[in-house]
Amino acid sequence: MNFASYVVLAIVGVLFVLAVRYVLRHGGSDCGGNCSSCGASCPHRGKPRR
């Protein structure tokens, strides 16, 4: 593998880790855009929105 291949692999790896981290934090739940009914799973619930 050449250097460029390692760079590309590293980028994909970092993106993968970030994606998994996001999913674990947010539960992978899609609120469906209906904000009025997603209070229980919304990460902003209980925190003042600015």
Partner: protein, 793 residues
């Protein structure tokens, strides 16, 4: 006679409201009290429920429940506006203003809170009074505004604009502080346990009588409070008005006319709210009844009873940390939660019982009806002094005209079918499909560009395969369906915002009762066509636990938008263009049919019993707010893109890894030697009887558990990015069988997690997943058998 015997247009006066429990209490809270005049306006197309006009607004009621209300026929009282020039204006009392209304300083309940210290407000009001619109204006944040009662099911918090120290919490829309529905209990608990520094009570000025019922109960809490009279622009436009000074003088709280939709009066409202909260100025009045000396006057009887109860129960209320007046009126109303908190001794219970018995005997009304009657009597007197009733509003006339067609006896169902057919055809075959094709072209162009770039830089073939075949093809195949999903959500949002969803619930109540549910359950199921997660969560609007659980179990049968990519992929691969729309609609109808059959089964087995009473307000039709709809579409698109670049991306990379490497972590020589083939191969035999026993198909179905869109990305990756190879996995008929299976099998992990959260039972969630898989397998097998009979296999 009883209320169910009225004919359309006929008026009657209520004599007695029979029955007991939650329904009766709710009917009284909504204004159906002895002495009030009601008029039958409409009957649902299937004969039930009915729509009544009372106290200036419309209410739906089932015939069975209307049969509990005894009435006498009367001639309708004409609406007459008060003649102008008959009253003398009074000076503005200046409640809630610095330097004025010094008399209200006597109502201070604590030391002034220094500037800069945190202030918390509760935003409370009826459903459909513009509460969420006001919340948006107060905080500058954006929330979806639905016109169907009960869309807002949970509280939301925000910071008041330009006042970082002030937080406002948007509580669920309620009609009363009684202890029956989850929304009422959530609001009460918030007000009494979190002790907000102030209440902003929003009232629909065009429906002021019914709205003030809640206001009176809020005032009894003794929390600093301001009244926001919303929709004043509509009242004025229809020739009505409200004498603000007199209203403020009588109530003893600041009254601020606003129009939340037009951002009028909001700054003044904020100023008054901050003032009363900071200076701890409690409402100037908490006593709404008087004794006129008449021994058999129901209001006087209530007055004597409440004051006797206050003397008796004040120590208990203080010990329980409850506002005294509020606790006493709730004790008289037989509120079980307050009773438990007050911890009365037996002698105290006996004394209170005698006091209440005396009130009932003197006034001729039972305890609940007596309190409701007292409140509405005060409201009627208050409105006679301060409200100039508008003529029938333009909005109402328009709604009546539109309802003649959309809820007409012979036109309602055809209109509903046409509207929903238009929505689906436009989404799947016209606009949505066109935009999706454009999106696919764009994704393909980007993929080719990246592929060329990677080749030019001589990137390792395995790494190149990861990027192109794995990430780009996988995520890209899902992204191309974004326009279709957005278009679907756009239409569902329009239907909700205009008020049509409420009519749908009204029309569908009778058929839904046949499967053991009420019309209210229809909206969560309709939302389920968008996404199961908010659909399951919106079942919180159903006050009956039984109805909630049953609706949750039926929601997965409403094919969610995440399955659209699967349908789109297979219908475009195996069916001619003229048949694709039909196949899609057929899938949706099959899902609903299976849901109905499952509901019948549930009704006969684990969910025996009657559905929740159907008492609901039908709001006027409104033009949807473009801002609100566009915000919803943006939220949905953003959520979908986030999901594509996180969950789908992660799943795609994992799939690619499992597909590329074998058990010794070497690059697999052939696809069927890979780790994925091994896993998929274990369960593939389960699907052989259905006609798609290939390991790639079973693997795709497994990944569909994480997100339904993953089925498409997985199949794409496993076919080496070339979906034209789908005929190697399916025939046209087995593709149809596969579509039936994906229609019905387990919802995604997010939906299952939501089921677990909403039911409080991991077992229920697991059973839901397994049951759906079993049903999907059986129905798909039946379809295959049918196909065999007709020689299609």
């Amino acid at each position: 006679m009883t209320l169910d015997k009225l004919t359309i247009g006929q008026s009657a006066r209520i004599l007695q409201v029979a029955g007991k429990g939650e329904l009766r209490h709710h009917l009284l809270d909504m204004g159906l009290t002895p002495g009030v005049e009601v008029t039958l306006r409409k009957v649902a197309p299937m004969g039930d429920p009915i729509e009544l006009e009372l106290r200036g607004y419309e209410l739906t009621l089932r015939l069975d429940d209307a049969g509990q209300i005894e009435v006498e026929a009367v001639e309708p009282t004409p609406h007459a506006a008060q003649p102008a020039g008959r009253y003398s204006a009074i000076a503005h009392p200046g409640v809630g203003e610095l330097g004025r209304a010094k008399s209200y300083r006597a109502n201070k309940i604590g030391e002034t809170i220094p500037k800069g210290q945190p202030l918390t407000f509760a935003l409370v009001g009826n459903q459909n009074c513009g509460k969420t619109t006001l919340f948006n204006q107060l905080t500058g944040s954006n929330q979806h505004v639905g016109n169907f009662p009960g869309v807002t099911v949970d509280r939301k918090d925000g910071v008041i604009r330009s006042h970082p120290e002030a937080t406002v919490t948007d509580l669920p829309g309620i009609y009363s502080l009684s202890p029956y529905s989850n929304e009422e209990i959530v609001t009460r608990d918030f007000l009494m346990k979190t002790h907000p520094t102030g209440i902003i009570n929003i009232v629909d000025a065009s429906n002021i009588e019914r709205n003030l019922y809640l206001t009176m109960q809020l005032m009894e809490l003794g929390i600093p409070m301001v009244l926001a009279l919303n929709m004043m622009d509509e009242v004025r436009a229809n020739g009505g008005s409200v004498r603000i000074n007199e209203l403020e003088e009588i109530l003893g709280i600041p009254v601020v006319p606003i129009s939340a939709a037009k951002n009028e009066g909001i700054d003044e409202l904020i100023d008054h709210a901050l003032h009363v909260a900071r200076h701890r100025e409690a409402p100037g009045r908490i006593d709404f009844c008087t004794d006129n000396g008449q021994p058999d006057d129901p209001v006087s009887a209530v007055h004597r009873c409440i004051h006797a109860a206050v003397h008796l129960l004040e120590p208990n209320a203080k010990a329980a940390g409850l506002p005294v007046r509020f606790a006493c009126t709730k004790m008289i109303e037989n509120d079980p939660l307050i009773e438990k908190a007050m911890e009365l001794t037996e002698p105290e219970k006996a004394t209170l019982g005698r006091v209440i018995g005396l009130m009932e005997k003197e006034g001729g009304l039972d305890r609940e009806a007596a309190l409701a009657n007292m409140r509405f009597a005060f409201i009627e007197t208050l409105c006679a002094k301060t409200v100039v009733k508008p003529q029938e509003s333009r909005e109402h006339k328009r709604s009546v005209a539109i309802d003649k067609i959309l809820t007409g006896r012979y036109t309602a169902i055809p209109c509903f079918i046409v509207i929903m057919a238009l929505v689906f055809v436009t989404t799947f075959s016209l606009i949505g499909a066109f935009l999706s094709d454009l999106m696919s072209l764009g994704v393909e162009a980007i993929t080719n560009l990246v592929d060329q770039g990677l080749t030019a830089y001589q990137i390792n073939p395995v790494v190149r395969s990861l990027v192109v075949d794995g990430a780009l093809n996988g995520v890209g195949s899902v992204l191309s369906f974004l326009p279709t999903i957005v278009v679907l959500f756009f239409f569902l949002s329009i239907l909700e915002d205009t008020g049509y969803m409420a009519r749908v619930a009204f029309i569908m109540d009778k058929p839904l009762r046949r499967i053991g549910l009420s019309g209210r359950s229809f909206v969560p199921m309709l939302i389920g066509f968008g996404c199961s997660v908010p659909a399951i969560m919106s079942t919180r609007t159903l006050s009956s636990d039984r109805d909630r659980r049953m609706t949750i179990l039926l929601t997965p049968f409403m094919s969610c938008s995440a399955k659209l990519p699967i349908y789109g992929l297979l219908t475009s691969a195996f069916f001619a263009p003229q048949w694709r729309g039909l196949v899609m609609v057929g899938l949706y109808l099959l899902g609903m049919l299976c849901g109905i059959l499952y509901a019948f089964l549930l009704k006969k087995t684990i969910f025996q019993g009657e559905p929740v009473p159907f008492v609901m307000e039908l709001p006027n039709y409104r033009l949807p707010s473009a801002k609100s709809v566009l915000q919803l579409i943006w939220d949905k698109a953003k959520g979908f893109i986030q999901k594509a670049f996180t969950l789908i991306f992660a799943a795609t990379v994992i799939i690619w890894f499992l597909q590329t490497f074998d058990t010794r972590l070497n690059v697999a020589a052939a696809a069927d030697e890979s780790l994925l083939a091994l896993l998929g191969g274990w369960i593939a035999p389960l699907f052989a009887p259905l006609g798609f026993g290939d390991w790639r198909v079973s693997t795709a179905l497994i990944t569909g558990f994480s997100a339904k869109e993953s089925v498409v990305s997985t199949l794409t990756v496993l076919l080496g990015g070339n979906t034209s190879l789908l005929p190697t996995l399916f025939t046209p008929f087995t593709a149809l069988v596969f579509l039936v299976f994906t229609l019905l099998y387990t919802p995604c992990v997010a939906a299952i997690a939501t089921v677990r959260r909403e039911t409080g039972s991991a077992r229920a969630a697991a059973l839901t997943a397994l049951t759906q898989c079993a049903i999907a397998w059986v129905i798909a097998f039946l379809v295959r058998c049918l196909g065999s009979l007709f020689g299609l296999v």
